[in-house]
Assembly symmetry: C2
């Protein structure tokens, strides 16, 4: 075969050589959040051989930091190279066979998405729902688990689409009474609001790299309890290859009886190095302080919003998630125009409503490095300016 | 809930604050290959909102460059956030229902992996095999497609585990005679040896970001012919959510009848920006020159290897893949010691054998930026030095 054969299609570069420069924004959507300089530096190194001892060292360090982050001693604590959605799909497909029974406590679009996933595997789903701004009581969850004879209960901790925080204490022991496992989507809440995997008896927890942890999107972080690990081993059918926690667990050296670190697929050393640096920053600050900081700055945002006449969408303070604040769209304001204004003039990105907040609220994320009082001050100034300008335009 | 609750587990940072510096190597394994400075610069920018117009612009640019790379006008040409393995699993699960018939032309470990994947979905697999160093004839493939009444034939183009290049011309038209689709794993071969999606009537082609394209691992690049797209639409069951090409195709704006760019999952702007830069470099150099360069430098390597007494594992020159060269382990040499020597003294990583080459050959990748004569010279010098030192040690 000759390499000099004429091409059928011309290079697009020859048609148009124009470049665009990517501008950097303050990302106050529901994530991803901005990265620290340390994370960017770790990200931008030459790649490593995924089977090298340098990668193994990084994986060991990341695993130890993840156990701290998840507050667990679970050996099966690891990273998979997908988004958070892929992480939730990994949980479903490693714990359930088709026909198994799943209860999903739907708090917004993330719960809906888990339902979509489960149906693809012919899992028998009971989805329960609450009005926007409300969370589930332990009794409501127990009724559903009991009546559906569930093998797994799936709960979203911080719902970024609706701004609520589901209380988790007590749910684990309740599930275990009925031989049901408890899975928690902590994609948005990890490193924001307290979560104790072992103390609260959570069987599978998933989060993503790009929220409060502050590293680039592309990785999901997972932990499975010994009870969940037993279920994985007892499963009749295998999960999709790419989500196979037994294979990825081998690669991350999570099993006592096999240290072969067998290759699963090509894992990105760049994403892993960036995650390692982001986790190191969380460890250096300390989880208690990280949680306290997110709480403090969100409460500060709520107070400052009140000062300029903006209201929280989630009315009960005890139901509010400290990572994403949903703000009722002020009357007379076109939210898309307001979003555009703060982006164009202040370089701030915030998010429009989604799911329970669709056309009702805007969503503001104060996650990781962005959870700082000076960010709140700058944002509130931008929103105030935006509202004044839009009202002025409207009356002209 | 109070954020100041005591933690159950201590931060690993408090136990050990030691850091390690990641050293950079010349990556001459089967991939990932080293990145250019332009790619590293694009990688290390602040993240973008995955729903922003900046992301849309980048996706459009990437799509146009991918069409050139794949030599296709297929509208369904896109990126998914997985490794190459995840890309192959996406092809299987978007084109086949359980019970459908699949022929896999196994050329090494990548074909074996596709078989493992297919069995997880209860796909009816016929795997055909050839001795190491050999490739399939069109007649052998036709016999298998006919006898198995296949819905899909899966072929690996460049087999990085065995060093062979499967000829592709003629297979597409043959498959279509039997109403069978043709899928090609071009993970290792894309941007190395010529591949013409449209001219050769390939229905689904997958490659990965980290081989000859030269961007970080974590993305797979895919194209589907109109024939394949029709099959996707006609499928009875849905693919896994994360692999859903209809949803990811919407996000990448691949369909004429729906430009909603609907959110699928959080896509990494960092990986996309790096890929965009790497693709731009391919476009600037031009595919013909890129292919010619890989051919020229691999032939140069084969010649120089001969000069120091090393032999190619794939004996027939016309069967050799120009991306990965497999070298017979010279007698009296422990390959793991040789690999360690060139890594420690020369900062070069090469790979041990795998699958057909296990304990028989070492594997050397000259991919992307690493396909240069000076890299070949430096590598051959390192191998020569290593062999001499090891033989000296052995005789002392």
């Amino acid at each position: 075969m000759s390499a000099s054969k004429p091409l059928d299609y011309e290079s697009p570069h020859k048609k148009s050589a124009k470049k665009f420069i990517l501008k950097e924004y303050i990302q106050l959507t529901a994530g991803p959040a901005n990265f620290s300089d340390r994370v960017l530096q770790a990200l931008s190194m030459q790649c490593l051989n995924p089977l090298s001892k340098e990668m193994h060292l990084m994986m060991d360090e990341v695993k130890a930091m993840l156990q701290y982050l998840f507050q667990t001693t679970n050996p099966l604590t690891l990273v998979n190279q997908t988004s958070g959605s892929g992480g939730n799909e990994s949980i479903l497909t490693n714990l359930l066979d088709s026909g198994d029974k799943l209860v999903i406590a739907v708090g917004g679009t993330w719960g809906e998405k888990v339902q979509d996933m489960a149906q693809r595997y012919a899992i028998d789903v009971l989805a329960i729902r609450k009005p926007p701004g409300e969370i589930f009581t332990l009794e409501e969850l127990e009724d559903a688990v009991k009546s559906h004879q569930a093998n797994l209960l799936f709960v979203t901790h911080g719902e970024s689409s609706g701004g609520t925080l589901q209380q988790l204490e007590g749910i684990g022991p309740m599930c275990h009474k009925y031989d049901c496992l408890l899975a928690v989507d902590a994609v948005a809440s990890m490193g924001v609001d307290p979560l104790y995997t072992d103390r609260w008896q959570l069987d599978a927890v998933c989060t993503a790299s790009q929220k409060a942890i502050g590293s680039p999107p592309g990785l999901c972080l997972l932990t499975f309890s010994p009870r969940a690990e037993k279920r994985i081993k007892a499963k009749k059918t295998k999960s999709p290859y790419y989500f196979d926690m037994t294979r990825q667990g081998l690669y991350f050296d999570c099993f006592v009886d096999d240290h072969s670190r067998q290759y699963h697929y090509t894992f990105s050393s760049n994403l892993l190095a960036a995650l390692r640096e982001a986790l190191a920053q969380v460890c250096e600050e300390g989880l208690s302080e990280v949680w306290e900081r997110h709480k403090r700055n969100s409460e500060y945002l709520w107070k400052k919003m009140g000062d300029i006449g903006l209201e929280c969408f989630v009315e009960k303070v005890q139901n509010r998630f400290h990572g994403i604040t949903c703000i009722k769209i002020p009357s007379g304001i076109d939210q898309l125009e307001l979003l555009k204004f703060v982006k164009d003039k202040y370089d701030i990105e915030i998010a429009y409503g989604h799911g329970p907040t669709l056309n009702k609220a805007m969503r503001i994320g104060l996650l990781g490095q962005n959870s700082r009082p000076e960010v709140v001050d700058y944002l509130v100034q931008a929103l105030k300016d935006g509202m004044e300008q839009l009202i002025k335009r409207g009356t002209n």
